[in-house]
């Protein structure tokens, strides 16, 4: 698809605003910059008829020659928006005079009065660039020659913008120009669609344009248009669709005035980051991961191989117990009080680290005392009576239930019975 002046009339499938936008691109450098800006404002405001009438008025008043293709496209557009095409007949048609070979402009990439063409553009357009879709790249250059019969002052700043398929060229052009104007920067904003051929004017401008960095911009994004006659340009493919973007090897870095510093990679860059993902060594960072322990575990000392070793229990000598006590089955050994309704396992007793040294010493003394008394009982009265009597200094051998008034305690209407009393 041709982008600009030479577009043939009746481009099926191309929206009318895009056709008008492309038509206006073809008049860049031949109409004054304000006329193009005004026409683009009408276009962005959905005033196609006003934009076309304004364009025709500027062409007639300025006696600007147009090509036959441009006239055909203009007449077609006039018809499609129901405008009176009588003024089209007043247009001067001259393919030779309208050719870009006659209308040549000079551009400069260096600073003007100490100010480069990109100076202030990124800051002034940041808010707009953040919201406009699919803006691929922005470039700026000074035009040194006047444009149109009522030209403004020169040098004049020209901003070249490349948009992708999802971008809106008329809206991008108007909003960016308006944003710059509000910031006190007068500039022509030429928006070129990706994959479309640009007029010679824009190719010439790109020879000296410098890239304007902005947040969403990918460093590998191609310029909106490639200079045709730049001897310093390396061989590179022409303006390509986004699928070929990664193959462009920074062709602008050799252009005069191009910025040295590369812009930061955008988080929403369309395709270049995707193409670079396989090149990023993501595997090396993975091995250290197992070494990185969670903070909670890391703050603790390394657990010992034996979880119980940290208790460091005193070496308990083998209990010297009488053979009778030691010969009892495990079930008859003194059991620790049940914990949470469950009796501690017998095997946990020797190595019960929850006991302090003093408790373990007392427990051992108790066991020795029991063994001693058991040894003494072997020569005296019965076992149970011996226990009760022994604890209380040799009292009566009857079970004494403690009560406050001496009466037996009644539980649920039943007085407690002596454990040895049959129920």
């Amino acid at each position: 698809m041709s982008q600009g002046a030479d577009g043939a009339a009746g481009r099926p499938g191309v929206p009318l605003p895009i056709r008008v936008h492309d038509l206006l691109l073809g008049f860049a450098g031949r109409l004054d910059d304000d006329a193009l800006a005004d026409a683009r404002q009408f276009l962005a405001s959905a005033e196609l008829d006003r934009a076309l009438e304004f364009l025709a008025g500027c062409l007639v008043a300025g006696r600007i020659a147009i090509s036959g293709a441009q006239r055909q496209e203009l007449a077609s557009l006039f018809t499609q928006v129901y405008l009176d095409a009588a003024m089209i007949d007043r247009l001067m048609v001259d393919d030779g005079a309208a050719s870009n070979a006659v209308v040549r402009h000079r551009f400069g990439g260096g600073p003007v009065d100490g100010e480069s063409a990109v100076h202030g553009v990124a800051e002034a357009a940041r808010r707009v660039l953040d919201v406009l879709p699919d803006v691929r790249s922005v470039w700026a250059v000074w035009r040194l020659t006047p444009a149109g019969p009522v030209s403004g002052p020169v040098p004049h700043r020209v901003v070249l913008v490349g948009v992708g398929p999802a971008g809106f060229a008329p809206a991008t052009s108007y909003r960016l120009e308006n944003s710059l104007r509000r910031a006190g920067i007068r500039a022509s904003v030429e928006v070129l669609r990706d994959g479309a051929e640009a007029p010679e004017y824009h190719h010439a401008a790109m020879q000296y344009a410098a890239q304007v960095p902005f947040a969403r911009q990918a460093p590998t994004n191609p310029p909106p248009v490639r200079p045709r006659s730049n001897p310093m340009e390396p061989s590179a493919p022409p303006s390509s669709p986004s699928s070929q973007i990664p193959t462009v090897s920074t062709p602008v870095s050799v252009l005069p005035g191009s910025p040295i510093s590369r812009p930061a990679p955008p988080p929403t860059a369309p395709s270049p980051p995707v193409a670079k993902v396989p090149e990023i060594p993501v595997a090396p960072p993975m091995p250290p991961l197992p070494e990185i322990a969670p903070p909670g575990r890391r703050s603790r000392p390394e657990p010992p191989a034996d979880p119980l070793a940290s208790a460091n229990p005193p070496v308990r000598p083998a209990p010297v117990l009488p053979a009778s006590w030691m010969s009892e089955p495990a079930s008859t050994t003194p059991k620790p009080p049940p914990t949470n309704g469950k009796a501690a396992r017998p095997e946990s007793l020797p190595a019960d680290d929850s006991l302090s040294d003093q408790e373990k010493l007392l427990l051992r003394q108790l066991q020795e005392e029991l063994a001693r008394r058991e040894q003494e009982e072997s020569d005296g009265p019965g076992h149970l009576g011996d226990i009760n009597g022994g604890r209380h200094g040799g009292g009566p051998a009857t079970f004494d239930w403690p009560t406050s008034n001496g009466a037996p305690t009644v539980i649920n209407g039943i007085p407690p019975q002596h454990p040895d009393q049959p129920r």
Partner: protein, 208 residues
């Protein structure tokens, strides 16, 4: 010699100063200077309608005289609303720029060179316009009194001023003897000769 339609159109555009945006007004005056009445016939009525600019009865007659024969749509011409009297001006004028800096007036130098020896030019004065709200920069208004070729002279001076850096030039070329609108009366009342000693201001201001 300008045609009656062109003269009427110039006076109409003169009266629209301060009512149409400068960005559009200078463009229409440029078209008129280039003789593109047919371009104005299609665009000016539409602009008046879309910018909601009302015109007086006298201005409506000027509009019809200027554009009807040039191909303007009579329906559009009749659609432009009339107003009984104009609203107050949104601008104030001062002889000197409120943002005066101590530099030479290169614009006056160039204008003096361009206008030197022109017999149709009666007077050239300058004034500075500021929006009543105080917003926006002060803009220079060049006030030229001429006895002929007012539209062409306005276009020429506009091109000069644009080349010098005034993107939306305010050039008011007033045919001698017309009833001046309030905008120009106040501008003249707060004006100074742009080319001191070269042209004598002869206009007798008529207080409103």
């Amino acid at each position: 010699m300008e045609s009656q339609a062109a003269t009427a159109c110039h006076e109409l555009l003169l009266r629209l100063a301060g009512r149409l945006p400068d960005r559009q007004l200078w463009r229409f005056r440029d078209w008129l200077a280039a003789g593109a009445l047919d371009a104005l016939a299609g665009t000016l009525p539409l602009t008046l309608l879309r910018e909601r600019v009302g015109i007086t009865v006298a201005e409506s007659m000027l509009l019809n005289t200027a554009l009807l024969d040039a191909g303007a749509d009579p329906g559009l011409l009749n659609s432009v609303p009339w107003v009984d009297e104009l609203d107050d001006l949104d601008y104030t004028f001062t002889p000197e720029s409120p943002e005066r800096v101590n530099t030479g007036d290169s614009v006056a130098v160039v204008l003096g060179a361009v206008l030197h020896g022109r017999p149709e030019v009666v007077d050239v004065r300058g004034s500075w316009r500021q929006h009543r709200s105080g917003t926006g920069p002060a803009t220079r208004v060049v006030l030229v009194t001429s006895v002929a070729d007012a539209a062409r002279l306005a276009g020429e001076l506009q091109r000069v001023l644009r080349a010098l850096g005034t993107y939306e030039p305010g050039v008011e070329v007033m045919p001698e003897g017309i009833d001046l609108p309030p905008y120009h009366e106040r501008a003249l009342a707060a004006s100074e000769p742009l080319l001191p000693g070269v042209i004598t201001y002869r206009r007798q201001l008529v207080p409103r």
